[in-house]
Point group: C2
Chain length 429, copies 2
């Protein structure tokens, strides 16, 4: 970790700089694959699955037999753990449903909003170094609660042509039954445009590598909604003398093991504390199976000694971390100043990994500073809020003249006339 | 209008097809302007304002003198109308604020969401053929309610180097005081990257022409959030024999006058009704100042006779109109089947133009079928929802073992260890 002690404010931006993501270079290959799949459907998906995943598949849809086999393959204790996570995620996300409240803005003028689930959604669950069945819960549970009618899940096939049983099991458990063994750009293309076997969807969710991210951003220009732009995962831990250095080290490592590009930042109030964390880091790192990845991620990471709590808050809000762990004495009052963060973990017994899996909050969060403008995934992400209004003749008599004046002032006379013709009729009655 | 009578379902998609938007051709010029302004700031903004708007400006920021002059220039009756609209928009949008509700998903595991206004937002208000001060209210009011700290507004200068007084007046009234005389691509670039005089923002809102839309989509790839993709405005009116053909004609014209590319669709249950609407259309059209625009828009529009209410509902949900007017006998029960629409207007005395200006709902809505996945602008659009969680030692003892199992199954051992190290400590205590 690069240690900085009381850096001046003018250096903060460069100190906290994330590595630039080079998306431009990918555009050519991504747009070629998108176009091919848009034109040639399943045949093109088959071709790229062979080319990129090294698997020749005759059928992408996970069969009922495969679902049954997955249910048998997942150990009972893991099933029980997944059930705990599902129950908590449901409890937290159910509370996010909104009820219709009619606002009578003027007598006779009633306006309201109604949340309606997006009819067709696509969930992408990456493969790669770890079978991320937890992402299935994090996307599938809110999609079901939102009332989405058609939910499609894509995940890249392993070399043996299958998916990890826990991914299939979790999908089936939450109620997602259209599971396709398709990964990468070809999955995003198949869901965006539809193929002979994959239904077209209106919004695509889920993390992925740079190719998946570029593909999502490209189809979003064609009107397919996406959850949010994605970047490497990251955590900022802000800890004072009441924190346990070994807990802090464990939290930093749990982020660092994601990938060599993971971002880890420690903000503390003394050099001694940082040294203690570093000692704990090297002890714990040695025991990790993914120690090379974690060590590499730590190399690019920053540990910063800062003078005051107020400066720490400013630095956090400048960085806008995806995950923020606050191991501080006055954690409640401090947390009230947080403006930019994806998900915040308070206190010594709230490690990020509980939120990654099972406490109930969503783990699909804005990275790369996007927490300044974006929220994490929630039931909101799976609904549209449609506004409705109904006005009585008396209400229109009250409100209409203001509309007539504003429309005239905007030189939109047909807008005015749509009111005037009705007001004239009401007067005649 | 192109009249179709009971078209078979297989023809619906082509019948309701919107003209394709050619965004590709614009990319080169848009990205060149974006890059120039990112590198050269105000100097480049000055250059393009001269080139595109034909005005040489020394200062983009609207001065206090200009604000005071605008207040004097707006007639009192228009001020009163704007006040009515503002009051209603505030009433409807205030109800959209959310309160913090703590969910204890398990004993000792507390999770909640907190809405925080996006610190810096940019509002774009187009100029062009009409001074759209109503858009200032529709964007400024929710931004203020959301608690956004820095709100920047850009609107293109007229040939005399000024903005329409009603735009300045409305901005000042709602509490937006950083008003810049900058339009088009250069406005989006200035707000996305910041210049010497224009602050950088995190999210950009507002309608605009194809150049503005392309610029918004391009900066969104760099992580600046945008409200939604935009296309030409549109209305679908669904009317039965209880509707008044002259009201329907007035509503269709109020949409058609927006631009030659406006989309207007009439779904009715008899040819006779459509004929009556057509008669009313030609009568009313003749009197409109913008009759050439409206006539052109009507040429590309569709009137469709449909057999059943259920088919009408299917057609509406397939088209996903930005604005939907339902002039039907059973309007309440019918409206319950609406899944895809931006804003819905119920009954004979609820013309779209009340929602465009003053009833309280927002008029920034998803066009081009995007209502299938997008909501209109609301207070939600101006906040991020940050999740928080706090777990007690007892809570972690309950929840931790499930997290350990899931993390192990995903081969993320450092994730597991962040829990295990704490559970071991708790046991020692």
């Amino acid at each position: 970790m690069q240690i900085s002690i009381n850096p001046p404010k003018k250096d903060w931006t460069s100190l906290l700089e994330r590595p630039a993501m080079e998306v431009q270079q990918l555009d050519e290959i991504v747009s070629a694959v998108l176009r091919d799949i848009q034109e040639n459907g399943d045949a093109a998906v088959t071709k790229y699955t062979s080319q990129f995943d090294g698997v020749d598949l005759e059928q992408f849809l996970v069969s009922e037999e495969e679902i049954e086999a997955a249910k048998l393959a997942v150990p009972e204790d893991l099933k029980a753990a997944i059930q705990v996570a599902k129950t908590n995620i449901e409890a937290f996300h159910r509370q996010q449903r909104s009820t219709v409240e009619i606002v009578e803005t003027m007598p006779g003028v009633k306006c309201w909003r109604k949340s309606v689930g997006i009819q067709k959604v696509g969930l992408y669950v990456p493969g790669g170094t770890a079978p991320l069945f937890s992402s299935v819960l994090m996307l599938g549970v809110p999609a079901i609660i939102a009332g989405c009618q058609e939910i499609v899940l894509c995940s890249p096939p392993a070399k043996d042509g299958g998916l990890h049983p826990a991914i299939i099991y979790a999908a089936d458990l939450v109620g997602v039954h259209k599971i396709f063994k398709i990964g990468g750009i070809q999955a995003i293309a198949a869901m965006a445009y539809g193929t002979q076997t994959v239904p077209q969807v209106y919004k695509i969710f889920g993390p992925g590598n740079q190719y998946v991210t570029a593909a999502k951003q490209m189809v979003s220009r064609a009107g397919i909604a996406i959850d949010m732009p994605a970047g490497p995962s990251e955590v900022l831990v802000c800890a004072d003398q009441t924190a346990d250095p070994s807990f802090v080290a464990a939290d930093l490592l749990s982020q660092a093991e994601h990938g060599v590009d993971s971002q880890v930042v420690l903000v503390a109030f003394s050099s001694e504390f940082i040294k203690e964390v570093e000692t704990a880091l090297s002890e714990q790192l040695a025991k990790l199976p993914r120690k090379e990845i974690a060590a590499k991620a730590l190399e690019n990471s920053a540990a910063i000694v800062i003078n005051t709590r107020s400066e720490a808050l400013d630095m956090i809000n400048l960085y806008a971390p995806e995950h923020l762990i606050l191991a501080l004495e006055d954690v409640t009052s401090f947390s009230e100043g947080i403006i930019n963060a994806g998900s915040v973990f308070l206190g010594n017994y709230t490690p990020e990994s509980v939120g990654d899996y099972a406490s109930g909050t969503n783990h699909t969060l804005p990275t790369n500073g996007f927490a300044k403008a974006y929220s994490g995934v929630s039931v909101d992400s799976f609904v549209k809020k449609i506004t409705f209004q109904q006005i009585t003749a008396a209400g229109l008599q009250e409100l209409g003249p203001s509309v007539e004046k504003m429309a005239s002032a905007e030189d939109l006379i047909a807008h005015k006339e749509a009111v005037s013709i009705r007001l004239r009729r009401i007067k005649q009655q």
